[in-house]
Symmetry: C2
Subunit: 370 residues, 2 copies
DNA sequence: ACAATATGCTCCTGATCCGAGCAAAAGAAG
DNA sequence: CTTCTTTTGCTCGGATCAGGAGCATATTGT
C-alpha cells in the first residue's frame, strides 16, 4: 500500500534534489499536505531540505529535498571475477564511503567473510543508519541466499554470512542487477520494457518491465545464454546443446580461431574483439552476428522497446556494429523493422551491478518505511 | 493505491462466495472495518451477502460475499478463426448471457460490426450495468485498438468500433489472454512465473509474473513463435529465418510429410497429430521434440515454475509425451533437471481466451472502482 | 438450559489528506 | 524604493478511512 510518504521518498530517491514544489506536483498533493508530509519525514530523519539554485523566475523560492544527514543508508556490494567492493549509499544513490580489495584467488566463503568484515567496520562508523545490504554476484542466488558461481568454482557459498540477521538483505545476479540500475539511472530510463544483456564469462541479462526486474520463480531469470539460439551441435557446460551463450562468449571466439579454451575468457575475448587482424575480426563479426540474431529473437518474444548491452557486448557492438545490427534487423518480425528498438551500450558500465544492488536494496527499504 | 474496498472486491472476484470472515482475514481487517466495508460496497450495489452452507463448526455462522444482483458487468468477447462470441460476465467470473455466430468468411470490419451489434443488444438488456468490454483476438492489437490478424487476412481492423466510447476497453492476443485466465482460474493458479504456450496457426503465448501478464512495450509480447529456436534454413512468413513457430505448427508437419502447405493448418495439424499411422506419428514426434526443446530454452531464460499448453500443444503433449518431455529435460540447465517445472495442458481449453478477456477487463474495472 | 466458540455491530479514536484562506519571498514595473 | 505579480509555504477545519474495545448474536456441544 504505497502511502503518500513512501511515494515522496521514492520520488526523492529517483531524483535527489527535486524541489518540494515539483515533488508535490509529481505525487499530486496540495501544499498543505506537502507541509505535513515533509514535516513528518523530517522528524523521522528521512528527508532534509536544502537550498536551491536561484531559478530566476518569479515567485517564492522553494527548497530542495535531500537525504537527511542522519538518514538511513544501504550497503551495496558486488563481487566480480577480480575483486569485491562495498559502498555505503544514501537515499538518492550517492555513495558516502567504499571499501574493497582483489579476490586474489580466495574461495567464496573467505571472500564473503572479508566482505562481512568490511560491512562490520562500516557499521561501526555509520551505526544503525546502515539498514540493510544488497549484493551483486556473478552467479545464481537461491531464495535462501546460497550462491552458486560455477565460473569461479564456487558452490553453496552462504551470502547471509556477510551480515547475518540483516533487516534488509537482497542478493542477485550481476546482470539482473545491472539491468535494474540501467532502467533507473542508466540508458533505459523511461523504457516500457527494457532488455539488458551482459556478456562476461557467459551471457546473462534481465528484463525490466515497467521498472520492475523480473527475477523469476527461483530468482534465476535472465539466463538467456541458455536459450537454444546457437549451433545445436555445440554442447554447453550447462549440459544442453545449442546454447546461445556458447555462441557469443570467449569460448566461441576460441573455437572459431582454433585456439584452446582460454583460462581467462573475458580478457581473451576482449583482446580478440579489439584486435585489428583479419582473423580475430572475422571471428568477432561472426559472434556479433550470433548476438544480433538472438537479440532479435528476444525482442520478438518479449516485445522490449530498448536493449542495452553490458560487458563484452559493448566491445562487440563497437567492433562489428554493421554485422550485429544487420543480423538484429533480419531477425525481427516484419512489423518491427520499421522502428527497431534501439540497441545501445549500457551507461553505467562496470558499476551497473553494484548500482543495481543499491537500487534493489533501497527499493526494499523504501517499501519497509511505508 | 489499492484501498481496502478494492482489495475486498478483488478477493471476491478471485474467490466468489468467500465467507465474509475469511475475506476479512485475507485482507487483514478487523470485524469492525469489515462491517463498514461490506455495508459501503452493498450500498454501492457492488456486493451482496448470501447464505452459506452450514459449516458444522461452532460459532456464529457467517455469510457469503457474492456479486450484487444489480452490480456491474463486463462484456467478454473472443474472435477465433471460426467464430465470434460475447459473454456477459459478473464479478467472480460467472457468465450470465452469451451470444455469437460463425465467421462464415466475413471480413474483420464486418465481424467487429456484428459483435458490436450483439454488445448493443446485451446493453439494452442489462443497461448500464455493463461497464466495459474485453476482446480476445487471434492477432496483435496496437495501443489504439487496431487489430492485425495476418492468418485471417485482416489488417487495420478497428476493434473500438465494437463499442465506441466504452468506459473500459481492453483487447489482446488470444494466447496472452488465455495465459491470464490460466494463471487466475486454471492450471497455473499459484505459480510464481507461469509460461503459457498456445499453438494454433502459429505459436503464441505469454508469461504471467506474480499474477500480472507481461504485455510488452507495444502489447505484442509473447510472440515466442518468432524466437529462432528452429532450423535456420526455414524462412518464416514473418520474414525471419529459423522461427520456432515454423517448426511446430501445421506447416512444419506438412513439410515433414512432403505435403502442400495446408489451407486450414489447425484442422490439418490436429488430424496429423492424432493419426495412428507411422508417418504422421513420426512427424508429430519430431514436432513435439522441437516444442520441448524450445520450452526448455524459455524456462531457462525466464525461470518459469510452470508451463501450460493450449491449442494444438495439448494434442502434441498427448500424442508424443515421451519425446516432448525428453527434449524438454535435455534442454534444461543442469541445476533445473532435479525438479523440472511441470508441463501441463491448460485447464480452460478453448475458453481460455474469452475467460482471459473477462479477467483483464474485470481487472481494469476493479482498478477504476477504487 | 448453559457453556463454548466464532462472528457481527456500535462507538470511539487516530491517522491521513484535501481545500480555503492567509502569509512569505522572490522578480517586475513604475 | 515602493508596489504589484507570481509562486510557494503554513494554519486550520472538515471529511474519509481504518483499527480496536466491548457488547450482541447465532450456532454447536454437553
Amino acid at each position: 500500500m504505497p502511502t503518500r510518504a513512501t511515494e515522496l521518498l521514492r520520488v526523492v530517491h529517483a531524483r535527489p534534489g527535486v524541489t518540494r514544489a515539483d515533488a508535490a506536483r509529481l505525487i499530486g498533493v496540495g501544499t498543505g499536505a506537502t507541509t505535513e508530509l515533509v514535516g513528518r519525514l523530517g522528524q523521522a530523519e528521512l528527508l532534509a531540505q536544502g537550498p536551491t539554485a536561484p531559478s530566476g523566475a518569479r515567485g517564492r523560492p522553494t527548497t530542495a529535498l535531500i537525504p537527511h544527514p542522519r538518514g538511513p543508508l544501504i550497503a551495496a556490494a558486488s563481487i566480480t571475477y577480480e575483486a569485491w567492493r562495498v559502498d555505503v549509499v544514501e537515499l538518492g544513490g550517492s555513495v558516502l564511503a567504499t571499501a574493497g580489495e582483489e579476490l586474489a584467488g580466495r574461495g567464496g566463503d573467505e571472500v564473503v567473510a572479508a566482505l562481512g568484515a568490511a560491512v562490520r567496520r562500516l557499521r561501526q562508523e555509520y551505526g544503525d543508519r546502515i539498514r540493510g545490504i544488497g549484493i551483486a554476484v556473478p552467479g545464481t542466488v537461491s531464495r535462501d541466499l546460497m550462491l552458486d558461481a560455477s565460473n569461479l568454482g564456487w558452490h553453496d557459498v552462504d551470502l547471509a554470512a556477510a551480515w547475518p540477521r540483516a533487516e534488509i538483505f537482497v542478493a542477485g545476479n550481476d546482470a539482473t542487477l545491472a539491468a535494474s540500475a540501467e532502467s533507473r539511472r542508466g540508458t533505459a530510463v523511461g523504457a516500457a520494457v527494457a532488455l539488458h544483456l551482459r556478456i562476461e564469462a557467459g551471457l546473462g541479462g534481465a528484463v525490466v518491465d515497467g521498472g520492475k526486474v523480473l527475477i523469476g520463480a527461483l530468482g534465476a531469470a535472465g539466463e538467456f545464454g541458455h536459450m537454444p539460439f546457437g549451433d545445436p551441435a555445440v554442447r554447453c557446460p550447462c549440459g544442453a546443446y545449442g546454447c546461445w551463450g556458447a555462441a557469443v562468449d570467449g569460448s566461441a571466439l576460441a573455437r572459431l580461431l582454433g585456439h584452446e579454451p582460454p583460462r581467462d575468457p573475458i580478457t581473451y575475448a576482449r583482446r580478440v574483439i579489439t584486435s585489428p587482424q583479419p582473423g580475430p575480426a572475422a571471428a568477432a563479426a561472426t559472434v556479433a552476428t550470433a548476438l544480433g540474431r538472438g537479440i532479435a529473437g528476444l525482442v520478438n518474444g518479449l516485445d522490449a522497446d530498448l536493449v542495452t548491452l553490458g560487458g563484452l557486448g559493448v566491445d562487440l557492438l563497437a567492433a562489428a556494429p554493421e554485422q550485429l545490427m544487420a543480423a538484429y534487423r533480419a531477425g525481427l518480425m516484419s512489423f518491427r523493422r520499421a522502428a527497431p528498438p534501439p540497441v545501445l551500450p549500457a551507461l553505467l558500465g562496470d558499476d551497473g551491478p553494484i548500482a543495481g544492488a543499491a537500487e534493489e536494496a533501497w527499493t526494499a527499504l523504501l517499501a519497509r518505511l511505508a
